[in-house]
């Protein structure tokens, strides 16, 4: 288990590192790493490999992101799961979390324009039976995402050679 966690942390940090380097870093064989990864992929513990993109640096970037607080009435037997599913099936919805506190679902949505997001909220989200209310927050700037600081990189301020 310790080894699995170690491997997952390494991949989470950078999944682009070669299997051999990961094996060397962990002090195990490349075959073992391959096998562990295969198992983790099969079990959907590792779900997907992707790049973290800073869209703000992309010219003609057409990304508007909004976080929407959604209050819903849970349904008998299925609780929040059914309405959550109805929401997360929309491709423009990037994440859906069930939250404690003042509202129930936190929905992140991405679209090319604010207008489209507004439309999505009024046409698709508010009209769902169990949705009581929505509050939409547009995201203005991403400073840090998934543990990675996007704004600037800390330079190495060390002197080049020290004792």
């Amino acid at each position: 288990m310790k080894q699995v966690k170690e491997l997952l942390h390494l991949l989470e940090e950078n999944s682009h590192v070669s299997r051999k380097t990961i094996a060397d870093m962990m002090g195990i064989s490349e075959d073992d790493v391959n096998q562990l990864i295969q198992e983790l992929e099969d079990k959907k513990v590792i779900v997907k490999y992707m790049a973290l993109v800073n869209w703000e640096k992309v010219e003609e970037n057409d990304h508007v992101t909004a976080v929407i607080d959604v209050k819903v009435t849970p349904k008998r037997d299925v609780g929040f799961d059914e309405v959550a599913e109805r929401i997360y099936r929309f491709p423009e919805v990037k994440s859906v979390y069930l939250m404690s506190g003042a509202y129930d679902l936190s929905v992140t949505i991405e679209a090319p324009t604010m207008k489209e997001i507004a439309q999505f909220v009024s046409d698709k989200l508010s009209t769902l039976d169990s949705v009581i209310s929505t509050t939409t927050h547009f995201m203005l700037k991403r400073y840090k995402h998934d543990g990675v600081v996007l704004t600037d990189k800390d330079d190495d301020r060390r002197m080049v050679v020290t004792p």
Partner: protein, 398 residues
């Protein structure tokens, strides 16, 4: 202008600088610093400090200390709260108990603690065994006290570990103390409890005082660090030196400490009181936070060094450089003998031809010749690129 020239030559003839200071040669590291600093795009494996910035909670504690107006002197031996934390930490991590009030002194880095310890116990003419390869400050600091440094050389043959035989060969009736560092800079070697117990017997036999520089204690990759002070009969003759620079990535804060027998720590505090007064209060407050809340972050950093250690040692072997497994600190110390180059030639040509900076082993004592110190406290991407370049370089010279 000409009067200035005249003045300085007059000064020269009167030898304004003391004999001791004049006799100490400039550090061998300087040349490589200048070389590396004069070039662009150098990948440096020559840095003796963490590549992490101090954890945010620790930085935040210092900012908050400043905001609240903590800008004063502290007790000479350090903030009582910090000394209490240090005492607790030593007990929990290394199983040694020290009275926070009389057996702990907070210093301006481990560097000051080394100096204080030597000055507290040395009379001119005493001999001090210095175990090399070692951190560059020991020999000069011993000489500043008027003592005679006697070099004890560890070698690749024993994986740069210190043995009883090494000590027996160099000890004389004049030997007052011995100074060593495990996990070691530059070799990364460590000592197990059993190995320490073996040297403890000789230390006891010759009635030596030990300066045990354990600044890399937390950076130990297999098992727990063993302190010399925890070995049988060693408590009352060992000054343990540690600090925040390495484990908590706090080199610039200048805060360290020594723990040890009451009389010696009190003597050290006496010198510290007159020559330094106290360590900076904001750094001490940051250090409190490091010990109280910084351990998980420290563990995360250690894990990251361990991964890079594993990678880099294997990589050195693959490109044809013999390298023992360093069990601590963040240095690998591969041999370059296979290339037929001296460590100085290797380091100099490597930086000229491939723009990778390493430190030649002889800088850390004659016994380090034939090796280079490579710090792996740098990003994996940089390490990979450095290995690629070094592989190319070695291939040319094999």
């Amino acid at each position: 202008m000409s009067s200035h020239v005249q003045q300085s030559s007059r000064v020269q003839s009167r030898s304004r600088i003391s004999k001791v200071v004049s006799s100490i040669p400039p550090s061998g590291i300087r040349k490589f610093f200048d070389l590396a600093a004069s070039m662009d795009d150098v990948i440096s494996l020559g840095v003796g400090e963490p590549d992490f910035v101090t954890p945010w909670n620790v930085r935040e504690a210092a900012i908050s200390a400043l905001e609240r107006g903590y800008t004063t002197y502290t007790a000479n031996s350090g903030l009582p709260e910090l000394r209490r934390e240090i005492s607790k930490y030593m007990s929990q991590q290394f199983n040694i108990d020290y009275d926070y009030d009389e057996q702990v002194v907070v210093t301006v880095g481990a560097s000051e603690a080394i100096d204080l310890a030597l000055r507290s116990i040395i009379d001119p003419g005493d001999e001090v065994l210095v175990v090399e390869p070692s951190y560059v400050s020991y020999v000069p600091t011993v000489r500043f006290t008027g003592a005679v440094p006697v070099i004890v050389e560890t070698t690749r043959g024993t994986d740069f570990k210190l043995t009883a035989r090494h000590i027996e060969e160099k000890v004389t009736p004049k030997t007052k103390a011995i100074i060593f560092c495990f996990p070691n800079n530059p070799t990364g070697s460590t000592m197990t409890g059993e190995e320490l117990q073996e040297i403890a017997r000789v230390i006891e036999k010759h009635d030596l005082i030990v300066l045990s520089d354990e600044i890399y204690a937390e950076l130990t990759y297999s098992g727990q660090h063993e302190s010399l002070a925890a070995q049988t009969d060693m408590y009352d003759r060992t000054i343990v030196i540690n600090g925040f620079s390495k484990a908590f990535a706090m080199t610039g804060w200048r805060v360290g400490y020594a723990v040890g027998p009451r009389d010696i720590i009190q003597a050290m505090t006496k010198i510290h009181q007159y020559t330094m007064l106290c360590a900076p209060i904001m750094s001490q407050m940051a250090a409190v936070e490091a010990l109280k809340k910084g351990l998980p972050e420290k563990d995360r950093m250690v894990e990251s060094y361990r991964h890079r250690r594993n990678y880099v040692v294997k990589a050195f072997r693959e490109i044809g450089l013999d390298c023992h497994q360093p069990e601590g600190a963040f240095y690998a110390f591969p041999s370059v003998k296979a290339t037929g180059l001296t460590s100085d030639e290797f380091a100099e040509q490597l930086i000229q031809e491939e723009k990778v900076a390493v430190v030649p082993g002889h800088v850390f004592g004659a016994g380090g010749e034939g090796h280079i110190r490579c710090s792996y406290a740098t990003s994996l991407e940089q390490l990979q690129e450095a290995i690629k370049r070094m592989g190319r370089f070695v291939e040319k010279h094999l």
